[in-house]
Symmetry: C2
Subunit: 245 residues, 2 copies
């Protein structure tokens, strides 16, 4: 469970520059440091369940988690993919709204809700960053609504791959252009639940995109993109919004 792999020193934290704490001054960081604690979950483990009391909030430090909503008959929709630096939980709410599941080994930087809320009042930098992140997520959710409401299966798959490529872009800003290889952090089932499709359709469309030379499949999880432009053309998006820096 490699508990000691992540420093307790915020200044060396891998998500220091992107998480809720990204704009904190040294003194603010000191205080965060005092109340934070890490939690680790193995792949597949449930992190939180809808309806339970919301006691802690957290930032994803490493690994991938999903935010899902399900219906009684088992139909499941992924409503958010949580990657490093993403925030989990909502200050001001007392119950959990969505199921959270670790899809890879997961490391969270946690805060008890109450102290965090207090801190939110006193630290404008955290508040501002949280608002900004909430608005970004809102935009992402709305883009996803277009995908779920109007895109074809092929466009959905292409959009998801494009999204992963975008989020895999190295923090130094270097664009991974032609000949990129990405590793899907999720199973076909999770992909299906994200895209509002079935695993069979996901599988078939991946095969078809490969047959059309848009992607190459490299083992179960690897995808090679010979031509990023070709992939983006399949997403159905007008590319003006898709600035990759």
């Amino acid at each position: 469970m490699k508990r000691e792999e992540f420093s307790v020193d915020c200044s060396a934290c891998p998500i220091r520059h992107k998480a809720v704490c990204s704009r904190c001054e040294p003194d603010e960081l000191d205080e965060l440091e005092r109340i934070k604690f890490y939690k680790f979950y193995p792949a597949g483990q449930t992190v939180a369940i809808r309806g339970e009391p919301l006691e802690t909030v957290a930032s994803v430090v490493g690994g991938v988690a999903t935010l899902t909503r399900s219906m009684e008959d088992g139909r499941t929709q992924l409503v958010g993919l949580l990657l490093p630096s993403d925030f989990i939980g909502r200050p001001g709410r007392t119950a959990i709204e969505y199921d959270v599941t670790a899809v890879t080994d997961l490391t969270l930087c946690c805060f008890n809700r109450k102290p965090f809320e207090d801190l939110l009042v006193r630290f404008p930098h955290v508040r501002e960053r949280l608002l900004e992140m909430a608005l970004d997520e809102l935009d992402a959710a709305r883009d996803w609504m277009l995908l779920l409401g109007r895109k074809t299966a092929r466009e959905r798959i292409a959009s998801l791959i494009a999204l992963i490529v975008k989020r895999s872009t190295r923090p130094d800003g270097s664009v991974m252009g032609t000949g990129t290889r990405i590793e899907l952090p999720i199973t076909r089932e999770t992909m299906a639940n994200y895209l509002g499709l079935t695993i069979e359709t996901v599988s078939r469309q991946l095969t078809k995109l490969r047959a059309d030379g848009i992607i190459e499949l490299d083992g179960k999880r690897g995808i090679i993109i010979p031509d990023l432009g070709g992939l983006l053309a399949e997403t159905g998006d007008d590319d003006d919004g898709g600035m990759i820096f």
Copy 2:
């Protein structure tokens, strides 16, 4: 265009208790009052277009507007329904992300973006409320993702009617239980774009719900709900989240 119908006096504003300004102290309200201005749009008019510079932000005072995202080939998805008290625009962004259209006559309480952003720094009450509203919208968007990704046409229609019923609940909290009548604020086309369906499917499912005694159609826009419980059972949601006070 009934320009004078709405007071310039915030204390008499119909959305005083729900909008971004709802938590303001009298002195904060005074300052808002000085920089705000009203705009009026007739039904059908475009309010903002994706890609244009974002110069003003606003609260919906009266009427209904839609937030949409479209693809080049005309496929359109509604990503938000803006009812009185909802906020339009995103501080910190310089370009408009979604098309905004008035679907009924619309009254907006506007602020120029820059002064509003300054004010956001100084007025914690506005900031807090804006964060809260953004998080609420995020939850709403995610619930809608479940609808778009996994619900059947019938469930989608029932969910939309249930949503309108909920939002039509009078502010005094009185529940409009059995025998409620609501007025749809939108056309079949707008409904279809919200639900990720076609007008034909919307029409057919409404007819079917009527045939099954779940709703009664009263003219083009009116819907009577003889039994709210019956309607909610058709939405596919487990009802625990659906507390209507």
